[in-house]
């Protein structure tokens, strides 16, 4: 229980700190550019190597899933279709290879 409450407090403090710190200040351009490009870096780092770690028995199933998602999202707008296609591709890889 201490972990749950402690975790909740710590998580909220991390998430709310920038709001308190940024109060009434103007964002310097360098920092704003830095924060704008952050999502791109975050997405790259979130995919890899997490995808390998999530499929310890069969990394290929994860990599194929992500590749299918990337491929599908080149041609289709929206997020549901790539995600569903990736699950199907991973399932197929685990089940039949």
């Amino acid at each position: 229980m201490a972990v749950i409450i402690g975790g909740a407090i710590v998580n909220y403090l991390i998430r709310v700190a920038p709001v308190v710190l940024a109060k009434g200040r103007k964002m310097p351009p360098f920092l704003a550019t830095f924060l704008n490009i952050m999502p791109v870096a975050a997405l790259g780092a979130l995919i890899f190597p997490g995808i390998i770690e999530s499929f310890p028995d069969k990394p290929s199933a994860g990599i194929i899933g992500v590749a299918v998602a990337a491929l599908v999202s080149c041609f289709a707008d929206g997020l549901v279709f790539p995600v569903v296609a990736a699950i199907a591709a991973s399932w197929f890889t685990i089940r039949f290879f």
């Binding site: 201490a2 972990v3 402690g6 710590v10 940024a22 109060k23 360098f30 975050a42 997405l43 780092a45």
Partner: protein, 245 residues
């Protein structure tokens, strides 16, 4: 107009893939939490108040192995330091009207919520965030309930395949960014992935530190590159990235 129309609805619709990904991931969390000896209410409370993926899984592992609560909370802190950067980044994107809106949306900042909000081309205001975050939060909490009480209702192959959902979501968010910003975005993402791999496997940093440092270094490199280019001439790419007015 009603609060739950328009942008709220658009935010909720954007969160459907997150809902799917969260539901499946937190199903696994519910199963593990039960195995580690948490009660149903504790598991749900954990997901509802912490709303974080990797850190909750790590906490369950540590609880099962009998670690001290303080040690576990500190690990949660390290893994989730990245949310600091994400809230800071959202402050430049979301059209907030007052401080209260900022304090409320800060509660449910996650990797996925952040990524979807940042790449959205429409009007990202507090209603959009409310729709996006409440839908994501529901997926995480309902999945925990399902995992704890319903147990194994999926075939092993399917529940393993479901793990790909979150990563597929990341890839589907990244591809349009690369299409839009071309080489700069591609290299930044690649650089972050390589750095994260290096820190995690070679330097054996914890997953949280590794991710946070990789993100910071790759973004910093890209920002320095863009700022230098900016001094020469404004390319469309970095006009977009430097557009924060």
């Amino acid at each position: 107009m009603n609060f739950f129309d328009g942008d709220f609805r658009r935010g909720a619709a954007s969160a459907i893939p997150i809902f799917i990904g969260y539901f499946t991931a937190s199903t696994a969390f519910g199963l593990l939490a039960r195995g580690a000896g948490l009660s149903g209410w504790q598991s749900i409370l954990f997901s509802a108040t912490n709303l974080t993926g990797a850190a909750q899984f790590l906490a369950i592992n540590l609880i099962a192995s009998g670690a001290f609560p303080l040690e576990i909370v500190f690990s949660i802190f390290l893994i989730n330091l990245r949310y600091f950067l994400m809230t800071a980044s959202l402050l430049t994107k979301v059209r907030y009207k007052n401080s209260l809106e900022k304090y409320l949306t800060a509660f449910a900042v996650t990797d996925e919520v952040f990524s979807v909000a940042m790449v959205d081309g429409g009007n990202v205001n507090v209603r959009f965030m409310a729709g996006l975050q409440s839908t994501s939060w529901s997926g995480w909490v309902l999945g925990t309930v399902a995992g704890f009480f319903a147990g194994t209702f999926l075939s092993p192959a399917l529940s393993a395949a479901m793990q790909v959902a979150l990563f597929a979501l990341f890839a589907a968010l990244l591809v349009p960014e690369i299409k839009k910003y071309r080489l700069v975005a591609f290299l930044t993402a690649l650089c972050a992935a390589l750095l994260n791999t290096f820190f995690y496997y070679v330097l054996t940093f914890s997953a949280g530190w590794s991710l946070a440092i990789a993100m910071i270094l790759a973004s910093l490199a890209a920002t320095i590159f863009l700022s230098r280019q900016n001094a020469l001439k404004k390319s469309p790419v970095e006009r977009e990235f430097c557009n924060h007015g």
